[in-house]
Symmetry: C2
Subunit: 361 residues, 2 copies
């Protein structure tokens, strides 16, 4: 570190830059790389490595200037052995990603991930590992895209007793439903439109089915209620069967339809009610006004009432904003203590049928 180690401000000129490796050069990984090497690059961060199994092809398609000093590899072990201090995991899916995150932490690196599946299923174990290693695992990008709900719940509302979380957490479903609402088109047409605009994958079944939002809701239950909730225990009702006539019915009732993720926790009874479903929402509500790939959340607390937050929930640029925010936080303070939350399991879990909001369409 030499003389520079006397610098304490992460953004001071002359501060040693934090070396970053990106794992997975898809939509998210490439957006992060563009930001770290573009005109708005971050003084405290230096992209040094990109690892992708098709590194050779993808590198060939990059403009030469942007990746001059970056090492490309198709081998994860190269990334592990590199001097990168933070690995950004951007390959997605639970599959090998969890092993890569674990290996990176074991190799003494901090990890930033956009992977909701890894955090929803393995978050506590990985956070404990990170804490033991004296490293950090940050995952703002795993929920809500550029809407900083992970920090808001996990840190900003650290002085609140959170009692309820209601949110639109899946940008694809919201783009599809708000398109049907606006145009009266069929769900297939709305899906095709969302694909064309880059708001949906070719197979949106995890989005419409509710599995995606359930994983994100499980993460929010850990942050807001300190509860360990397996996403598979969260009741999901599919949005895939919504018809144009459902919107006409909702309109007559003064509202529309949105895929809502709901969780409320009765601490005394240790009962968590949690579900993801397409439900009726009043026209004047925050959720009805949430259009396209936007995400939105209403968090209710016992002391300060409602806090709402909205932001762009999908797309490479929005996810990159969240991931880079995590990188900046780690670069600012490598040695920060981010303790793994101590989670308990709810004694009882309920789904939508038990809930007064049985207005699901």
């Amino acid at each position: 570190m030499g003389l520079n180690s006397f610098q304490t401000s992460g953004n001071s000129p002359g501060t040693p830059r934090c070396l970053v490796g990106i794992l997975g050069f898809g939509t998210v990984g490439s957006a992060i790389a563009r930001r770290l090497t573009g005109p708005d690059s971050i003084p405290s961060l230096e992209l040094t490595h990109i690892c992708d199994r098709r590194a050779r092809d993808k590198r060939a398609r990059q403009p030469e200037s942007s990746t001059n000093r970056i090492v490309w590899t198709d081998t994860f072990d190269d990334l592990l052995a590199s001097d990168a201090e933070i690995i950004v995991e951007a390959i997605g899916g639970a599959g090998p990603a969890v092993d890569y995150v674990r290996a990176a932490l074991l190799a003494g690196k901090s990890v930033v991930t956009a992977n909701k599946d890894v955090i929803a299923h393995h978050g506590q174990a990985l956070l404990l590992l990170a804490e033991r290693q004296g490293r950090q695992l940050r995952y703002e990008a795993a929920v809500g895209g550029a809407m900083p709900i992970v920090r808001a719940l996990g840190d900003g509302l650290g002085g609140e007793r959170v009692t309820r979380i209601e949110a639109i957490l899946n940008g694809t479903s919201n783009a599809v439903l708000s398109r049907m609402d606006a145009t009266g088109c069929s769900i297939d047409e709305a899906i095709a439109d969302a694909c064309a605009r880059g708001f949906a994958e070719s197979d949106p079944s995890a989005d419409l089915g509710g599995v995606d939002a359930a994983a994100k809701l499980a993460i929010l239950c850990a942050l807001g209620f300190r509860l360990r909730v397996s996403p598979s225990r969260i009741e999901t009702r599919t949005t895939a069967r919504i018809q144009p006539e459902d919107f006409r019915d909702a309109s007559v009732r003064g509202g529309t339809i949105r895929q809502i993720a709901h969780a409320d926790y009765d601490r005394e009874r240790s009962t968590l009610t949690a579900w993801v479903a397409p439900v009726f929402v009043p026209r004047a509500s925050l959720f009805a006004r949430t259009i396209g790939p936007q995400n939105a959340a209403i968090v209710t607390g016992a002391y300060a009432g409602e806090m709402t937050i909205t932001g762009t929930g999908a797309g490479g640029e929005a996810t990159a904003v969240a991931a880079i925010g995590d990188l900046v936080a780690i670069a600012r303070d490598h040695a920060a203590i981010v303790p793994a939350p101590i989670l308990t399991e709810p004694k009882e879990m309920r789904g939508l049928v038990d809930h007064k909001l049985a207005e699901a369409v």
Copy 2:
């Protein structure tokens, strides 16, 4: 520390608790004290000292059980000499508060403040002092009450290039204006109503005049744009002269009136446009829907578009939620590095007249 020093999780049972002293036992200080000693007390925090110049009277009015083990004093030097590790500054006003905050940092304590004046006028110098001392100065409660805008801008959007901030930052003005809007009453009646509900002080001139919101906006300009802006350089137009007929005119135009704090920054020209004024807002806008003492903000970024956040902006409970969140963050990691931002001054500042939104009433 003994054996307990092997514990690393801030919330682990058996972890040494962080000792907290409260300076100023008014609305905010007493709300924080209630939370720290009540049924939702925080395992990592222990309230040990309360300092208030009328400590004797105020202590006598407290229920005996709640303050059994708390040392009361009317002398700031007692608090400075105590073993409290964090001082919560809750006396308000720029006057002696800034000296107390400085003295606390110099004595090796971390500080949590709800004081917008101290941060708007002396924030950078105090943050530099805190950094040099290896201590922390946190101020989530200084802007937006329980709406975690300080973290959202300063940390959550650390990966964004913020270009514009528009917000309702003064709960009193908003309560007055939304009351006039809803009932058609005069501003004096609306002020009396806000006082009766605890949303306004007996002298609301700093609230209505825009001085309060301008101080908060200056803090947000430092967080979002890294700009040093003296609150006195932010143009303010008073809300005190709004009449019921202004609302009728606004209604005809399809909207209403809110006190908006606006800042946008043209980085290339180094030009900051910043003002606080009562302006026309469309009926369907986030701001028109912000009622009573709520606060709301729309933050626009170059990469992820708009992020919005709302929450309870005034009152002891909401402010306590924000301050306790800061206490929890410090207790979690005493040694966290919170670098003072490196701020520049804008070359040019503009006010409302230059702005296209010259729809001010």
